[in-house]
């Protein structure tokens, strides 16, 4: 499990995780999926700790379990790298700075909430956050949508989300069932083919 343990001891690895996530934390504007490009860049591109494909899997699991996506991803990456200690280090690091910032903001709220500069800056940042979220989806496309079945699952999920008011977790559940179904059909076809060849 601890692929890099030959290079670092667990404590050193925890420190590295802590530093990485404490650096990411204050930049997670918009929360949730807007944070994905930042985490990808630090964990897979820069540090090379986790392969892009495994990162997509971690994203899928983090989205399917309760709690903030960012915190869940930090927890899974931490656990993957350094077990329970890594999990605690990563979650602490990703929560602490935003809690501090929010605490200071709560105190300053009455004074600065109606500052025209802040409001203008926020109005500019809002479309950029939408761009960050869109980029998170685009980034997954290359690795995820590689088969016809994956395209169909993607299209079906989009339709469910747009036209029904199903809970997102139910949509992820449907994806899970679809994945198993495709796997079963492929396996059955492979069995039929070998049986057919044996008959000849």
């Amino acid at each position: 499990m601890q692929s890099s343990s030959s290079l670092f001891t667990t404590s050193q690895l925890c420190l590295q995780l802590f530093l990485s996530f404490i650096k990411i934390s204050p930049t997670t504007f918009g929360g949730g999926y807007a944070i994905l490009p930042v985490i990808h860049r630090e964990i897979t591109d820069r540090r090379g700790w986790i392969t892009p494909n495994e990162m997509h899997e971690i994203t899928a699991i983090a989205g399917a379990t309760p709690g903030g996506v960012a915190i869940n991803i930090a927890a899974l990456v931490g656990y993957r790298m350094a077990g329970i200690r890594g999990l605690l280090a990563s979650v602490t690091a990703i929560s602490l700075p935003t809690v501090m910032i929010m605490l200071v903001l709560s105190i300053l709220a009455a004074i600065y909430q109606h500052s025209p500069f802040l409001e203008a800056a926020m109005l500019g940042i809002q479309p950029a956050i939408i761009a960050l979220i869109a980029y998170a989806a685009i980034r997954m496309r290359k690795d995820v949508l590689r088969s016809r079945a994956a395209w169909m699952t993607f299209g079906g999920s989009c339709m469910l989300l747009l036209w029904t008011s199903l809970n997102p977790v139910v949509v992820i559940g449907c994806g899970m069932v679809a994945g198993c179904l495709v796997h079963y059909l492929q396996w059955k076809r492979a069995v039929n083919r070998t049986v057919g060849m044996n008959r000849k």
């Binding site: 934390s25 999926y33 994905l36 994203t59 379990t65 709560s106 479309p127 079945a149 994945g179 495709v182």
Partner: protein
């Protein structure tokens, strides 16, 4: 009071599927029931929580905790909302990495990944529709579309750092709107 804050957000943490704005109605219900804030105060709190870095749900917890009983309340509420994540992710992670190479788990993941991708795309779409940025042909509609397009291009083509994206668009906002 402190224990109440912790316990309320601890319970909310377990049911917060999807995180973010999906949780706001649940938090509002609890806040009004416990009389921690008024409904208008809570709306202001959510706006501020959305503007600050970090998850909306967690920031709301910090603000509600502060309004209810100062920084100790904030600490109790934020520990309360984070603890369920830690417990659940620990369970999921131990289970997941034990079954990681099972071919059924892999098949389920193969189906989940495109579904989550659709969820992310939908989150972007939803935010664009509900942010009020696309209402009519106001001046800021055009500016917003331009900022969105330029930033998306910069991310894909030049691999611009996300922090730079936030900073540049914030400065652009100040130049365009003040």
């Amino acid at each position: 009071m402190i224990w109440d804050l912790f316990w309320t957000f601890f319970k909310l943490g377990f049911v917060s599927f999807g995180g973010g704005y999906a949780m706001i109605p649940l938090i509002e219900h609890e806040v009004l029931q416990h009389n921690w804030m008024s409904a208008t105060e809570f709306t202001d709190a959510v706006t501020l929580a959305g503007m600050a870095p970090g998850s909306v749900a967690m920031n709301s917890a910090v603000y509600v905790g502060y309004a209810a009983s100062g920084w100790i309340g904030s600490t109790a509420a934020s520990i309360g909302i984070v603890l369920p994540s830690i417990i659940l992710m620990f369970l999921v992670a131990t289970l997941f990495y034990r079954m990681y190479h099972n071919h059924w788990v892999q098949a389920a993941l193969d189906g989940m990944k495109p579904a989550v991708m659709a969820l992310i795309a939908y989150a972007a779409f939803n935010m664009a529709m509900h942010s009020g940025l696309l209402n009519g042909y106001a001046r800021y509609t055009w500016f917003s579309v331009v900022i969105f397009a330029v930033m998306l291009f910069a991310l894909i083509r030049w691999k611009l750092h996300p922090i730079a994206v936030i900073l540049i668009s914030g400065i652009a906002g100040i130049i365009l709107y003040v």
